[in-house]
């Protein structure tokens, strides 16, 4: 839901005509704060700031765009505050939407050995063969596109998506 709020604010901030102070500058600040939160750089004080700045933009803006742009933030803070707190305190995205806070890894118990489907679909060649001919993801190269998750045959279902990113085990690439 944090990502949803950020998505809508990105749109409305871009649409701002720039005439009035609150919408022109206020929504830019709100977007910057949300960006930081989705990248795992959120601070404890951010939630209160989002709330008070959002209310001020809503009340002080000249037109309907400014008056409604903070709504996704204010309502998602009201009903999904725990998601925001998880992003800030645990660097975890409960919805697993924020790329910086999620990671993919291959479960060696489920990997089929010799299947090669995920290796072929990876756009950045981040998947390599590790011990026991099982596949593993090189976290330093992974761009978290999710292609491997989708392409792994359902009978194996070996790719896992986790948040926070630290939960994904680091597998050493053989020399």
């Amino acid at each position: 839901m944090v990502n949803v709020a950020r998505y809508f604010l990105d749109f409305t901030q871009n649409e701002s005509c720039g005439k009035c102070t609150f919408c022109r500058i206020g929504t830019r600040h709100l977007l910057n704060i949300l960006d930081r939160i989705t990248k795992g750089e959120g601070k404890e004080s951010d939630l209160d700031l989002l709330e008070s700045l959002g209310r001020d933009v809503k009340e002080g803006s000249l037109c309907g765009l400014g008056k409604t742009a903070p709504n996704p933030i204010l309502t998602s803070l009201k009903y999904f505050r725990d998601e925001y707190e998880a992003h800030i305190q645990e660097k975890r995205c409960p919805a697993m939407m924020c790329r910086t806070l999620t990671a993919f890894y291959i479960d060696p118990d489920k990997c089929a050995r010799g299947c090669e489907v995920c290796v072929g679909c990876c756009p950045v060649e981040a998947i390599f063969t590790a011990k026991g001919r099982k596949k593993a993801i090189d976290q330093s190269l992974c761009v978290k596109c999710g292609e491997c998750l989708v392409s792994c045959p359902p009978e194996y279902d070996a790719v896992r998506k986790v948040s926070p990113a630290e939960l994904a085990p680091i597998v050493e690439r053989p020399e």
């Binding site: 901030q13 871009n14 649409e15 701002s16 005509c17 720039g18 005439k19 009035c20 102070t21 609150f22 022109r24 500058i25 206020g26 830019r28 600040h29 910057n32 004080s45 700031l49 008070s52 700045l53 001020d56 009340e59 002080g60 803006s61 000249l62």
Partner: protein, 230 residues
């Protein structure tokens, strides 16, 4: 003439006066940036001149509200001050605070309002959004600093008033808005050299004179105009 009450003081104003004018004419200061006396249609874009009218449950911009007989107005309620401080802090977060090196130092509207509202010039809880790009107006005499500009629009308004049609305009959109010059290629024809009203009206010296060194690098055809400006 109509009578109304502002901050528990009874005042009398001509019909058709807006509330901001009514307050200022009667010695009651209401922070404002984009309003100039005599404006037929104030832009109401600065969002600083809020006041509260009894019977209306939210602050209202005073520049766009006509005074009515019997109105009861308060200029310093907590809700009004909160919005004004918030608006000023937003403006300051997008303004390069460098008073010592600024031509507007000691006569700047931002300094005046910050002092009045009790807001420090450096805003701690907001990141700085100052645009460090120097936007070239493409004007022979005027220079523009977007890092100081608060987009009040008074330069555009005064240019239109003085010249009949404005030579300055808002350019681009949204957060990227800047002031632009609708230039005349033949700079000798420009009325600016005799006018410079925009420089005088700018509350933050965002629009200012090029230094004589820069001016001297112009093509020699302008030699007589150089003397006028210097």
């Amino acid at each position: 003439m109509i009578r109304l009450t502002v901050d528990e003081k009874e005042i009398e104003v001509e019909e058709g006066t807006n509330l901001l004018q009514a307050c200022l004419k009667n010695g009651i200061y209401v922070p404002h940036l984009c309003y100039l006396g005599g404006m037929a249609n104030p832009p109401a874009s600065c969002r600083l001149c809020f006041i509260e009218i009894a019977g209306v449950n939210h602050p209202t911009p005073s520049c766009r509200t006509a005074a009515e007989a019997g109105m009861v107005v308060s200029t310093a309620t907590p809700a009004v001050r909160h919005l004004q401080r918030s608006a000023l802090q937003l403006l300051l977060s997008a303004h390069r605070v460098d008073c010592r090196n600024c031509p507007a130092n000691k006569r700047c509207d931002l300094q005046k309002m910050a002092k009045f509202l009790g807001v420090p010039l450096k805003v701690k809880h907001l990141d700085s959004l100052v645009d460090e790009v120097d936007a070239d107006l493409g004007h022979p005499v005027l220079k523009y600093d977007p890092g100081r500009c608060v987009l009040c629009g008074k330069c555009i308004y005064i240019c239109r008033e003085q010249q009949g049609h404005p030579l300055l305009t808002f350019a681009r959109r949204g957060f990227e808005t800047v002031i632009g010059f609708m230039g005349n290629n033949d700079s000798a024809e420009l009325p600016c050299f005799d006018c410079l009203a925009c420089i005088e009206i700018c509350p933050v010296s965002a629009i200012y004179l090029k230094s004589t060194i820069e001016f001297q690098s112009l093509p020699s055809g302008n030699s007589d105009l150089r003397a006028v400006v210097r």
